[in-house]
Amino acid sequence: MATATATKKKSAQWDPAEVKKELLAKYPAKVARKRAKQIMINEALGNETPEISANVRTTPGIITMRGCTYAGCKGVIMGPTRDIVNITHGPIGCGFYSWLTRRNQTDAGPDGENYMTYCFSTDMQDSDIIFGGEKKLERAIQEAYDLFHPKSIAVFATCPVGLIGDDIHTVTKRMKEKFGDCNVYAFSCEGYKGVSQSAGHHIANNQVFRHIVGENDVPKEGEFKINLLGEYNIGGDGFEIDRVLKKCGITPLATFSGNSSYDQFASAHQADLNTVMCHRSINYVADMMETKFGIPWIKVNFIGAHATAKSLRKIAEYFGDQKLIARVEAVIAEEMPAVTAALKEITPRTEGKTAMLFVGGSRAHHYQELFTELGMKTISAGYEFAHRDDYEGRQVIPSLEVDADSRNIEELEVEADEKRFKPRKSAKELATLEKAGYRFKDYDGLIPDMEKGTLVIDDLNQYEAEKLVELMQPDIFCAGIKEKFSIQKLGVPMKQLHSYDSGGPYAGFKGAINFYQEIDRLVNSKVWSYMKAPWQTNPQLSATFAWE
């Protein structure tokens, strides 16, 4: 394992069963048994797909791509909101590492509140661990309030906080009452909870729903009001989606949580439709908002030009307004020529190439759209932190087992809000839409979209990644920063699909074009031909020169 070499020669064929066997060969028996259930050879049976094991613990010692609950909560979900002062309660590291590292862009305007460039921490010391950190946390909240007078302060627990029993929720409740004009709340997102970031998404979303959503009833202006759930504005994706939506005459009210503000969350209950991008990180919020406020939800995908067009049509069809439907068609007609022109120019250089995607809870699925548009085939894919429903489709949700690691993640009991619940469509209208084939709260997952014989792998680790590249020789590999350079050392281009390296946006129409150009650049870069020096490719000396 210490050394692997990927030769540039293309292997014509690989047998998925052989690949799977190879991946498991080196593991101790117990690890091999566990991993075997997370590595699936796709049989392309649609919704009767065999079960894949997902959202289960990573084996200690195996070099995983996964992070922790704090990272999912503070980093992913709350990170992109600009006007909340996010205080990490813990030793300094967690706050430091989640400081500006996710490329969430935001637009606060010249004078708006924006704390995303700041890192706030209680920097717990050993005395705080021994005697408790509540007093220090209370002082820290007070100091933040005195310095900035923000509308909201959020507190995030790190591992030791849960262990020493600091009651962060009581502290924040007390401070909220004391201030009167600042919403203060806390997240019990200790890193050891759950099995991955996913638990942190859930904890974050629950608290946003409990403490913020519905707080602002001042009516929001605009026609065709929607929320976008599970879009994090990495590299400006959210900006591009907003541009397209506004051009269509749709009003994006709140995005959870790219380029978001406190007020967007607080007013989100005024939307007439929830559209879900990343099913994994937020589908339960969509469900809760439907129960509490009566907002229906649909799955959308703005990754891929055709997927974008499809999602726009789906939104227009929901509202059923002829002017909107016509406007959406006009926008698609206006945007698509540039997309088609870019593809015509680029696909001759990408067609027939292969990709692997191991990322996130939705991107390993969504980005296959863009590769398909480029004429490229995804030969293996999987998620870092998704659950079975993201692989197999939502129909498996009732049968999901709640294990010890999921049980400690709170499920909110939600009822209809007496004052704010309002059905957006009558039962008859909904039935008519559904009868015409319209699908609410529906997601088929990644597996049905992948070809037979491809490999679907959950929680891929460094060893398997290297083996896969060696055995299947993809033309491009997509994952995160930790995986980037071990793959590239093998001479295979690696695209980060968490942070997009330095690129983006890749969503919407303009984003799709950006992505085509980026993949063209990567798979056709001259650099991959420089691996060997001339004296390495032709080491034999045919003559000797005698130097004077």
Binding site: T59, P60, P91, F96, S98, L163, M531
Partner: protein
Amino acid sequence: MLLRHTPKEITERTALTINPAKTCQPIGAMYASLGIHGCLPHSHGSQGCCAYHRSTLTRHYKEPISASTSSFTEGASVFGGQANMLQAINNIFSVYDPEVIAIHTTCLSETIGDDLKQIKKKAQDEGKIPAGKTVLGANTPSYVGSHVTGFASMTKSMAMLAEPKGKKNGKVNIIPGWVEPCDMEEIKRLMRLIGVKSIMFPDTSGVLNGPLSGEYKMFPEGGVTIDELKSCGDSCGTLALGEWCSADAARWLDAKCKVPCKVLDMPFGLAATDRFIDALRTVAGVTIPEEITLERGQLVDMISDMHQYLYHKKVALVGDPDQLIAMTEFLVSLDMWPTHIVTGTPGKRFEERIRELTKELPYEVNVKAAGDMFLLHQWIKNEPVDLLVGNTYCKYIARDEDIPYVRWGFPILDRQGHQYFPTVGYKGGIRLLEKILGVLMDRLDRDAPETKFELVM
């Protein structure tokens, strides 16, 4: 303005750290571990710690950083992490087959009181550590010290592998501290030139500045070997560069193995490099080769050539204690005026040392250990400077306040070169000067009215 909420008025804070000038111990331990040949660093905590440290080191070095984790769950946090660690050791040796596992703890495993020594013994007793393989460990709770002290702890654990045989090996131990792989290479070059045989630990050169060749080596050629570490108790002496990073390891070898040590400043800039080279001369009992004297002369030449651009320019600095001490001395030697100096790492000795180095200046410097970049920014708002030196996070201050800025320290996430171009030694001094002059003179060019725009500078 990107840091638009930072007020000029400074108010006392006792609980809230804003924009830290440090991070936590485990990442320092991980970086140090990568300087052992064939070593897989292991983080005994929850997955996020390991993921964050690997990500940060990867972004800084643009190189693969392999490290494993005990993947704590809530159950392990309640019942102890022993089972996780034993399983991890077994899996690591089966799958990755490293020569060494270097375990560091986290705030999680320290708070619940996991005992590394005891777990290691159990692993040994259960035959989970194959013959000839090494497992070492360091205690690095995140709620003590900083990344710098974590680095020092793991470095000390390396020294503690010493197995003196009682026969001197004719070598000098050199502990370089948290410097870049190229700095370690440069220190080795200087020692070779002088003719000193050495054992350097940790040594990340050849590990974190690797080539692209179509081959991935999880364990590259570089790094100090376990045999070298075992032998370091028989060395003639130890040179420790940096009180914060390196002194503990050196003093331990002195006390336990009778290897005399000398703790020096990190050799950044003229005077600190002079002391380092002179110490090598004394240790080896040799004459310094002309080549090194020439390098020194070139640095002095550059200082004299460009002195007018440096004279009495005010500088704000943020970083780690050992680096800042050497840099402050260098700036003073250039007739520049270090004005605000902040490290996040605690330690009153740092403030005392900076005051000592700047006592001849006609003003009192602002200096703070256990400070943060929010305070530094406020100091700058009250007393503007001509130059800012620090890690990548300084770019927000530099942009808001429009200050010429040199990236130097850890982490550097947005520029290249720190892995390849050393800043230690005389040649490194020339590099530092080139960088400082580059930004100062770019500013002169940018701001000069057309009538005063100079061709020759």
